[in-house]
């Protein structure tokens, strides 16, 4: 039976074709017992095959980038980093959390002590075997009061890390956190050998070994033959180009310079489908556009004014005009429909100028004049603002749009101006998203919103291990955020990719980050 299992493995990985498979199976006397499912798999996708050089053009790189975990920012450097390295855990395409370098984990009953068992025998590219010290060194890189790591939020709750033997790591948290394994999948928290100082060398346990790294230009890697994930990666080599201009990415894909691109231009995306050999892949994700108001500044300290603004936006029109239908409606809370605790029974707020006027009246106003600070910080940022201006005008809300430069937007406009345009990539879990931008004491609480009931629920839900109770708590929080929060969230945007038909993709593509969770180099293959 062992022989047959091996054979089945070879076949499902596409290393042998169906004919060879049947021939060999017959030779070990197994034909009658071949489960039908195995052969039909081939008909669907021919199974992942090995080989080829995967070339992809993504955005988000700059000359100033680095592969240091603490400095990762956007698709180009995150994909490069994950091509060389792994985390303790990984967000699976269905949004659940699975082990990566950690084989298993266990929480204490109050979810404040977490014990991670490491996978045994995993080697770094330089042959060193992974142990607990490497994990501790890597996580500690983001901790401490002076940390400038983008991952500092994910590790903020860690009070202490210690090793228990060479393959067990014990995390002691300052409070209960049922989602802690999700946090360990944050892209900043990659695991490197203890003592690493030259992060740009790309040393790690990942699917590819680094052969070239030119920040903001290009990453290239060669297949790591010792990769611990069975069968992966499928490509022999991978090349990730940074192409900031959407038209240039499209040109690259059309002229077969690359096999896949991130974020094709929304204006022309529907035409990719008409080009033979190319197709568009689309996943609903957690990225959403927001209009945050500073809830401690008049008039936004009045919930009726906030409700008027929420009723005064035509979500459907923004979805169609700006996203061209590639997204879904938002409901003024940041939890996306693909997330585990999304409350699907809360009706989406509709555009209703009369209700908006009604709430303005309740706030003692006939009309409202305000300034909306906007910029093209995402494609369509200005368009959204202009559309909103037109929608709100019908409800007696007169918005003056102040165009701000995108350069310096995060330091000069966001969280500084009372009403502005913003967007969030979203977070994999409800707790993570709420704790990042809605908790009263969060550094990025971009609405200065302080709601006692909400904050109590947030802490309670974080440590709650009973799933039904937890679901109810997150349901209530979404409702509170929708009805009393200080942010207008009109739409969630889908993640789009332009992909050549030569490339095989899994049935389910992850939507937590672009390009299949920024992990297409190890999840995709040449069909």
């Amino acid at each position: 039976m062992k022989d047959f299992d091996d054979l089945q493995q070879l076949f499902s990985e596409g290393r042998i074709d169906r004919r060879v498979f049947i021939k060999r199976a017959m030779s070990i006397g197994m034909t009658a017992a071949i489960p039908l499912g195995i052969l039909s798999q081939e008909a669907q996708a021919a199974g992942p095959k090995h080989g080829g050089v995967f070339r992809t053009a993504v955005r988000g790189g700059a000359t100033s980038d680095s592969l240091a975990g603490s400095a990762l920012l956007d698709t180009h450097n995150i994909m490069a980093s994950w091509s060389c390295r792994n985390n303790l855990t990984e967000i699976a395409p269905d949004g659940s959390v699975t082990g990566e370098l950690a084989e298993s984990w266990e929480a204490s009953s109050d979810a404040s002590v977490w014990v991670f068992k490491l996978r045994k025998g995993v080697e770094f590219h330089n042959g060193k075997t992974l142990d607990a010290d490497d994990v501790i060194y890597s996580i500690n890189d983001h901790r401490g009061p002076d940390s400038k790591s983008g991952g500092s939020g994910a590790v903020a709750s860690i009070d202490d890390i210690k090793a228990d033997g060479s393959d067990t790591v014990v995390f002691t948290l300052s409070g209960g956190s049922a989602d802690f394994p999700f946090l360990m999948a944050d892209y900043h928290l990659t695991i490197v050998p203890a003592g690493t100082s030259d992060w740009d060398a790309g040393m790690g346990t990942g699917p590819y070994t680094l052969t070239a790294w030119d920040p903001g230009v290009r990453f290239a890697g060669k297949r790591n033959p010792n990769y611990f994930k069975e069968g992966r990666p499928y490509f022999d080599e991978v090349e990730i180009l940074n192409v900031g201009d959407a038209t240039a990415r499209m040109n690259a894909l059309r002229t077969d310079e690359v096999d896949a691109i991130e974020e094709p231009d929304l204006q022309t995306v529907d035409r990719i489908g008409s080009v033979p050999g190319l197709s568009v892949k689309e996943v609903g994700g957690t990225k959403h556009f927001t209009f945050p108001m500073l809830s401690d500044i008049a008039p936004f300290d009045n919930n009726d004014v906030r409700l008027a603004l929420k009723y005064g936006i035509d979500r459907e029109s923004i979805l169609q005009a700006v996203l061209r239908g590639h997204g879904y409606l938002g409901n003024d809370h940041p939890i996306g429909s693909s997330q585990r605790y999304f409350a699907d029974d809360i009706p989406v707020r509709e555009y209703d100028p009369d209700k908006a006027r009604h709430h303005l009246k309740k706030a003692g106003m006939d009309s409202l004049n305000l300034k909306l600070h906007a910029g093209d910080i995402y494609a369509g940022g200005m368009d959204n603002a202009v559309l909103y201006q037109a929608h709100a005008a019908k409800a007696g809300i007169n918005m003056e749009i102040v165009r701000e430069p995108t350069d310096g937007y995060w330091s000069n406009v966001w969280m500084k101006k009372p009403f502005s345009v913003c967007y969030w990539g979203g977070r994999p879990t409800s707790d993570w998203m709420f704790s990042t931008a809605y908790a009263a004491d969060a550094a990025w609480n971009d609405t200065h919103w302080k709601h006692d009931k909400f904050n109590e629920l947030l802490v309670a839900a974080r440590a709650e291990l009973d799933d039904a109770k937890r679901r109810q708590m997150y349901h209530d929080m979404q409702l509170i955020c929708r009805d009393e929060g200080a942010v207008v969230i009109p739409v969630f945007a889908n993640t789009l990719m332009g992909v050549s038909d030569k490339v095989g993709t899994p049935e389910r593509i992850a939507g937590n980050w672009p390009m299949d969770g920024d992990k297409s180099p190890e999840r995709w293959w040449f069909a």
């Binding site: 053009a57 700059a62 000359t63 100033s64 980038d65 680095s66 400095a71 920012l73 009061p145 002076d146 940390s147 400038k148 983008g150 500092s152 939020g153 740009d200 070239a212 030119d214 920040p215 903001g216 230009v217 290009r218 180009l241 192409v243 900031g244 201009d245 038209t247 240039a248 040109n251 690259a252 059309r254 002229t255 310079e257 350069d407 310096g408 995060w410 330091s411 000069n412 966001w414 550094a443 990025w444």
Partner: protein
Amino acid sequence: MSSLTRIILQRLGLGFLTLFAVSLIIAFVVELLPGDITQAMLGQSATPETVAAFRKEIGLDRPAHIRYFEWLGGIFKGDLGQSLASKRDISEFVGTRLSNTLFLGGLAAAFAVPLALLLGLLAALYRNSIFDRIVNLTTLTSISFPEFFVAYILILFLSVKAGIFPGISNVSTNLAFGDQLFRTILPALTLTLVVLAHMLRMTRAAIINLLSSPYIEMARLKGTRPFRVIVYHALPNAWGPIVNVIALNLAYLVVGVVVVEVVFVYPGLGQLLVDSVAKRDLPVVQACAIIFAAVYILLNLLADIVSIVSNPRLLHPR
């Protein structure tokens, strides 16, 4: 010749002063920009604590003039310093970018300069003919379109439709010279179309200007053929203005090609400068600005020398 050497030395000295002034202005202007590198790098993650820690780490908590003089001291030791953002040695990565930029500029110049001179001479020779009109019309048209439009048109026809050239020019150091040349042709063609008209029309105008001079009439009366009159009699006296325009355009090919770099994904200095300004990475901005300024100064110096050498009256002043 001694007067020529003196002029060159004088100009080089002035060039150094100009470079110093440029570096001072750049440092001042970057200080004026809102936000600094810590906020630009941390983006949404910039909390007051992380910003303060980061500033301290890279020494931004010290006054601007002290940082400037430290940088200046480094320059005199031949040390361009380190990028604040990536902590890499600037000379290391600016070197590759500079050679890419010079390669692209050089290739474009290799197309554009001979073509412009030849077409300019012919246009002067057959002035006001159909040929002259067509050459003027097409080159003026191509210079009037924005660069990215010319680039997209070339990509559409030569790359997407005909499939002759690649749609992007992502050259890297491990490419063979032939491949690099091939991948750089489309951006070089774009730049050629953009700078051609200037040089061509200056060549034409300078020569036509001379054609009414008495000595040209003399040559013609001798029975010299028209092409010979232009190349041997008119051109040597027209070099001054022509070379000056060529120098200006060559400088443009090196410092003004950001748009073409973006459209073709060509890793040159322009993109580096834009990235660095957006990140407020002062040492890199300084390095790029100094290189650009030096290119301008050297090319202008070269143009002046050529004008002097080609003009006996300037070469042997009384």
